[in-house]
């Protein structure tokens, strides 16, 4: 709850990069999201330009996280 409120106070930018699990998180370590299906999560801005525009508009700091929605070329992961 605290985290959700906090994220509302920040502009969240998730910039998507290509993933490889060479030395990062190992696929075997990835589990299940604790978030309930269909419930509200973080509103990520998927481009830097859109996040920056929103941050300037609302004067909120930017929580920048570059990440990938694929792991070793396997899509549909976060």
């Amino acid at each position: 709850m605290i985290m959700k409120q906090l994220m509302l106070n920040m502009t969240c930018a998730a910039i998507l990069v290509t993933s490889v699990a060479a030395r990062g998180a190992k696929p075997d370590e990835l589990g299940v999201s604790p978030q309930k299906m269909g419930s509200a999560g973080v509103v990520w801005y998927a481009t830097w330009e859109s996040a920056l525009a929103e941050a300037k508009r609302s004067q909120r700091p930017i929580f920048f996280m570059a990440a990938a929605a694929q792991c070793s070329g396997i899509s549909g992961v976060f």
Binding site: I2, L6, L8, N9, M10, T11, I15, L16, V17, T18, V20, A21, A22, R23, G24, P27, D28, E29, L30, G31, V32, S33, Q35, K36, M37, G38, S39, A40, G41, V42, V43, Y45, A46, T47, S50, L52, A53, E54, A55, K56, R57, S58, Q59, R60, P61, I62, F64, M65, A66, A67, A69, Q70, C71, S72, G73, I74, S75, G76, V77, F78
Partner: protein
């Protein structure tokens, strides 16, 4: 940008908090929020929880200094670089994708409607939104169940985010209330019929079945910051 934050390296995660101008750094940069705030993480679940609490505390301190100026109702709507990427992320997050396909002349009006929809308390954070662009011309080839060339499509992304199924379709002139009602209905159905992915199992299955995802970004990491993507395990710096 990732290289700037990671001393020249390009790896699959990077973190930093920026001021609203997008220039001033309000935290250190690193591969995770914990690293960005110089907090040691790992070990037992309790230790991870403590580290996360410290991250939250540090972020709250920053947020206090930057009180939001405007109402959230006017926040811009999320858009992706491509439909392909939106579909993939929707699959990863297991959220429905609201994809608007409109001719140029109607784009502004559709975005305005979607802004009202996306910022509604019943909608915010529950869906991903994307707007068609010239590069998305072939979106319909990977989506089944769509009947029109333009409109607002509610799409359930496939297991590996490379295909999808249209589970709802509305005309471009639909009111925010009509769209919201359709989304709520579709999301209720989606949540009732889906279970959360176990990502480890998902990756194993993807390997077994030969799933391969490629996009415009080069595949791999430059872990030694020599400016070249390492296809094999590189040296740590």
């Amino acid at each position: 940008m990732v290289r700037e934050l990671l001393e020249g390296r390009f790896v699959n995660t990077a973190f930093c908090i920026f001021a609203p101008d997008g220039k001033k750094r309000l935290s250190r940069s690193g591969r995770s929020p914990q690293m960005g705030f110089g907090i040691k993480s790992g070990g037992s679940a309790g230790e991870v929880e403590k580290a996360n609490a410290r991250v939250i505390e540090a972020m709250a301190e920053i947020a206090k200094k930057y009180p939001a100026k405007d109402t959230k109702a006017a926040a811009g709507v999320v858009d992706f670089h491509s439909f392909e990427q939106a579909l993939n992320v929707s699959s990863g997050d297991q959220r429905l994708l609201v994809f608007s396909v409109a001719p140029d002349i109607q784009q502004v009006a559709v975005k305005k409607t979607m802004q009202e929809v996306a910022n509604h308390s019943e909608v915010i954070g529950r869906y991903h939104f994307d707007f068609s662009s010239a590069t998305d011309a072939k979106w319909s080839e990977v989506v089944e169940g769509d009947s029109q060339k333009s409109g607002i499509f509610i799409i359930e992304s496939g297991e590996f985010g490379q295909t999808g199924k249209s589970v709802g379709e509305l005309p471009l002139g639909s009111s925010p209330e009509q769209i919201r009602n359709a989304l709520t209905k579709a999301n209720k159905n989606y949540a009732a019929n889906q279970t959360r992915k176990n990502y480890a199992e998902h990756v194993k299955k993807g390997r077994r079945t030969g799933v391969k995802y490629e996009d415009a970004m080069p595949w791999g990491e430059d872990r030694d910051a020599d400016g070249k993507i390492d296809q094999s395990r590189g040296k740590r710096r």
